[in-house]
Amino acid sequence: MRADLDIIRNWIAPGSRVLDLGCGDGSLLRYLQDNLQTVGTGLEIDETRINACLAKGISVIQQDLNQGLQNFESQSFDTVLLTQTLQAVHFPELLVEEMLRIGKNCIVTFPNFGNWRARMHLAIKGRMPVSEYIPYEWYNTPNIHFCTVRDFDVFCHDKNIDVITRTVVDYKHRDSWFIRAAPNLLSEIAIYHFSRAPAP
């Protein structure tokens, strides 16, 4: 069981409509469906993962997030999810805007590049960070838009996004007072629950 599910489930209303962008093998949607009776739809491009979704009875649409989400109506879902995918899309800014358009609220998780290990990697070794959690070299990584917790906070502020909850954890999704004390330095994964802030 993915530990992030335990955190995310608290933010999702029972019976609500959930759209999972980059839904992988559908286990998150399956989990939410089984535990919260949500009505879910996943978007995925990988054939094997799509088949895994079908095998779980999850509704899945083959669609590339980089091609936009014009086929979804505004405010047609309660929650739009984007887990561990933000850093791999071509236009994170546009995608988050689209999520806010489609969903009443949104959940995004991403690896925190401000983590001390990443900083050390660059500062001491002088090389791009590679970890157990993000095992790619610079030349083969699908992750093209890394950001830090502080970056995302600034982004939310600039884009008039209302952060409902921010949770910071290590790469095993463990929460601790220690990490919360210095999130940008100590957390490995950031989990944001946000919605469009009312117009000022």
Binding site: T41, G57, S59, I61
Partner: protein, 396 residues
């Protein structure tokens, strides 16, 4: 043809004729007083009648979807790759129903049947039938078979349109709607091709305004032309290059092969058949014209042209699906230029707008529109996976 029946074949099948005496009011307002439907079934209906799958055929299809009528058959039914024990539509678990639609020419009442009012063939007097009429007649067949709700209704192309109509007209009678290589309605280009086909038939001097049987002739030339133009639209450019360009050199195959193989090895400098593709189309067209009815072809193309599930819903497809209560699976094929993926995505978008549960896959396939009839591995895998879940639902 098979010396031994393949293990995953439904085997030798015998069609059954069902007589319906209750008049059917058609979309046009005309009434069909009584009619026959010819039907094949494969597999066994379970005790609570929950494992039935309806197969809807496309333009030139019929009730013979799987298996063989005799050991002398050259080919099995038109969708034998999908239907049988251990195949995607697994007859070990499902009871599969396949019929020839009204207006067809394979045994159900159609233009080639005898009109009881006149004692002669219906011919051009057979009323224009629509997808909605077919689905209404299929619902009566379901009643007759004791099937209250289909585990799934499945079809490709014009068959997919029937599936769509089922989900709109009979929401409580469909658990899963599976549509393949389908569009919400025809485009002007689609209609244009159909009109060329119809003109080819009606311009044949042997057509006799549809009363060719009275004249003891068949408009074979016209029907052959109609089939030729249709056939071109079912194939993709790449499929034709591959089929008619058997170049041995690997490099040439990739870059230069246009499918221009000659039939006799040299040009004739005349107007006879020079290229393989010409002879193939002639052969396919001729064979078709010997077995298919020209009036049926006209009717089927009209049913395609007329199909528009939004007519009762202000042109809004999402509204049309408002009452649908099933889950949907749609698949399109990358080189299909008759109903290309973007046309199928229009349906997906409408279903999402209506808040329905829909899965959609775009299958990479070279074979064009025809791909839905062929054993494309990823397509077969997805269909198998999806229907395995359906099986578990209904056998609980």
């Amino acid at each position: 043809m098979p010396d031994v029946l393949p293990e995953n074949s439904v085997g030798i099948v015998t069609p059954e004729l069902y007589r319906f005496e209750e008049p059917l009011t058609l979309r046009s307002g005309k009434v069909l007083k009584a009619y026959d439907l010819i039907v094949e079934t494969y597999g066994t209906l379970n005790a609570d009648q929950s494992n039935a799958i309806l197969i809807c055929h496309a333009l030139s299809g019929d009730h013979h979807a799987a298996g063989y009528h005799s050991m002398d058959d050259k080919k099995p039914g038109w969708w034998d790759v999908c239907i049988g024990p251990g195949k995607p539509i697994d007859t070990n678990h499902f009871f599969v129903v396949s019929l020839n639609n009204l207006g067809g020419c394979a045994g159900s009442t159609g233009p080639a049947s005898i009109n009881p009012d006149t004692g002669t063939w219906y011919g051009p007097d057979f009323p224009v039938v629509t997808v909605r009429d077919w689905v209404n007649s299929q619902a009566r067949l379901a009643d007759r078979l004791g099937i209250q709700q289909w585990a799934a209704v499945v079809g490709g192309s014009l068959g997919g349109m029937q599936v769509m109509r089922w989900s709109i007209s009979y929401p409580e009678r469909v658990r899963h709607a599976i549509m393949l290589a389908v569009a919400p309605k025809l485009s002007a280009q689609n209609i244009a091709f159909n009109e060329v086909a119809r003109q080819s038939i009606t311009a044949d001097p042997d057509f006799h305004a549809g009363r060719y049987r009275e004249h003891e002739v068949l408009p074979k030339k016209g029907l052959m032309l109609a089939r030729m133009v249709g056939h071109i639209t079912y194939l993709s450019d790449s499929a034709m290059r591959e089929k008619f360009g058997k170049v041995s050199d690997e490099l040439k195959q990739v870059s230069l092969n246009l499918g221009r193989d000659l039939r006799a090895g040299k040009l004739s400098f005349g107007f006879d058949v020079d290229f393989q593709v010409e002879s193939y189309l002639h052969y396919q067209g001729e064979r078709f014209s010997e077995t298919f009815d020209a009036n049926t072809y006209l009717l089927m193309t009209k049913a395609l042209d007329y199909f528009d599930p939004t007519v009762d819903y202000d042109g809004d497809l999402g509204k049309a699906f408002a009452n649908s209560d099933c889950r949907f699976l749609l698949m399109s094929f990358s080189t299909d230029w008759r109903f290309p993926p973007e046309r199928t995505r229009e349906i997906v978008t409408a279903l999402l707008a209506a808040g329905k549960q829909v899965s959609y896959l775009e299958i990479e396939a070279d074979q064009g529109h025809d791909a839905f009839l062929l054993p494309v591995p990823r397509y077969m895998e997805a269909l198998t996976t999806y229907l395995t879940v359906v099986k578990d639902e209904v056998s609980a």
